[in-house]
Symmetry: none
Subunit: 219 residues, 4 copies
DNA sequence: CATGAATGAGGGTTCATTCAT
DNA sequence: AATGAATGAACCCTCATTCAT
């Protein structure tokens, strides 16, 4: 509207960035960060390669934007998990979304690509780590809130271990789920249920023990 | 000495292949499969780019060789885990090796790279899957052998779920361990111990239930 | 202007393809198909090497385009020969054009290059053969039309032999003419005239014999 | 035998050069001068690439040696033609040899390769021209010797035209014969016979005319 | 704002040639 | 004399990026 030298925040500009990012996501999905070319992305977005550079300074910038979006999707997935009635079902839904390639959800091949990239680019590593920390905190808070025994989480080491485990399991399952598209969803559910049951059993057990006497940490 | 039309198996040739593969491993580690150039690898190996093609027909062949070696390392790691006195300790050792970047052990950034590549290249996918199946079978057999209750593993679904879970956890932990080099090894141990304890508790529980009456499957 | 997904047929694109092909022709002339590099061609065309690949998918494609053009020139030359008042003069003009290196005419060094290439590449061989067949048919038809005795061409073997001979002579003379730039055009004319005279004498002779009695083939 | 710093003329050395040249000939035949590599030639010769450089200073030198050999074969072919009872049959034999790929005979694909190379490399051009001149002279002398009318050849222009024509026809037929391996040998013979008959008829005619009165040049 | 032609550095690969053994 | 490992320049081709229109 206004004669705005900074065009970056016009509604149109936002829409264009959106188009580019969605196209990039699809291309990266199909061919990886390095395999997808700007020309591919431009074609997928239905625009010219040159135009992309009006909205992003470089391919690397697109990659970083995609990474941030995916991490943001991860956070959103967390919210959904937290608000789901059934915790297990929530995680399964999340994993299913990973497999789906849907735009609004973290996606396993991209997750691999991102993780790999993070091992090389310190800036990406920092971004990923930051997102990780945020998720970890949310998760911790959620677990504390719903825990049968608050005590369990008073020991930060124990709490961290549980969260580390939970996140590793989810990621590990998600990667396998993506690597093997034939993997039976029921098997996934079965494995995850068992795992969560284990966590809860542990919690219960700990709660019982805690009730018996004040504080006896048994590793 | 011998009238050897194929130079590929002389001692020197083997040593050169080794030099190249080790250089490639380091380069792939630093820059990824696509980011590392033949020139990089040649430089790292202290030889000219052309020479590499005396020992490998293409860069892709080097990548595949690296992948196979890593998968082989994975299998070796499994053997070590199986033969370790303490199962948990065995896995922790394995994960520690992943982090070390040592040539003889599976290595987490490469694992990510491989998984990402398998998403796109069907041949690599097949290789990875094959290795996976082999490990799964070994693991299954090992778990059956040491199980307190053989019955538990008679239900293939249940057995598969346990293995899926175990492998996912190990991989998930390994990736996190590699992504965050500051991650406290003790925390890792704590998480893994808890997980294994959960698995064993489940087994025990199941054995008890099985003893109560002949066969009551409770998912 | 138009919503044209294929840029290949815009006026500019055609002009560029033309520029490239003409540059390629000159380079191939100077250094042969294999001796001329894409960089040479790009330099000759006054453009960057990369740009060439916007208009041709590979060097091989350029070679094939050049070959097709040359064969097309051969067909055009044939038309000119057929429409020339004097057959001998028409052929001499054609040969002179071969020597000129002009873009619109078949050119002897390229003809050699093409023939040599056809020896190895079956696809090129097929293209050349196809063009050859076409020329042969045209020539046959022209000779039949202007023949003093139609009977002569009723024996396909005899007709084919005459055409084979004619084409071989023209090509042979053209190659020599190109190999030895000092070769006197008058000598060329003299030789060719004699040859054509021989052909016509044969025809006449045959016609006379045929008139004597119905059919006496004397090889 | 002797401690000979110039090893170039040892019997062994000659044998080695022979081996290399024959291998080179086969490789050049299959893949052309540029398509055949030193490694190919070494392999075909059953020796190491390095050894080749003990007997030839460069690939170019091998090419030149091959060219000289082929030209020499051309000269030998000429001798055979001259000594054949039937001139036509002699030429047909020669052409058949061109097609055969036999070591001792000029060979059509190589002839193409050589002619093409001669248009670029002045040194090769000179060699070829030299050989050509030699053949021309021999042919001239032979034709004069066997001519029914010596007078015909007293006009050098007329003589040169006949020779130019003859050589062009032979080369032209040879190239076509090599380009189209399916070409019927009988057709070849038919065409050539007709051509030679034409030459002889011309000669006869000229002799008759010459007899009529002393000297009346008609074209 | 948008295009897509143009650039040129750099990638994988080949191969004539050299040289230590 | 002979090997074949090693070199490095040059090849074909791709693609991130720029810029005239």
């Amino acid at each position: 509207m206004m004669n705005d030298p900074e065009h970056a925040f016009t509604e149109r500009a936002l829409k264009q960035r959106e188009r580019i990012l969605e196209a990039a996501r699809l291309c990266f999905l199909k061919r990886g960060f390095h395999g997808a070319s700007i020309a591919d992305i431009a074609h997928e977005a239905g625009m010219s390669p040159g135009l992309i550079y009006r909205y992003f300074p470089s391919k690397q910038a697109i990659i970083k934007a995609i990474i941030e979006r995916q991490l943001e999707s991860g956070r959103r997935a967390l919210e959904e998990i937290k608000s789901a009635e059934d915790f297990v079902q929530g995680i399964l839904n999340a994993i299913e979304h990973w497999r789906s390639g849907c735009a609004n959800h973290m996606n396993a091949p991209l997750f691999l690509e991102i993780s790999a990239e993070a091992t090389r680019d310190p800036e990406i590593a920092a971004t990923v780590e930051e997102a990780d920390r945020l998720i970890k905190n949310h998760l911790l808070e959620a677990m504390q809130r719903t825990a049968r025994s608050k005590v369990l989480y008073q020991d930060p080491r124990r709490a961290n271990a549980r969260i580390l485990l939970l996140m590793s399991v989810v990621e590990g399952l998600a990667i396998r789920a993506c690597r093997d598209p034939q993997l039976d969803p029921d098997l996934l559910r079965c494995a995850l249920t068992k795992f969560i049951a284990g966590l809860q059993a542990d919690e219960r057990e700990y709660a019982a023990a805690a009730q018996a006497h004040s504080s006896c940490t048994k590793t």
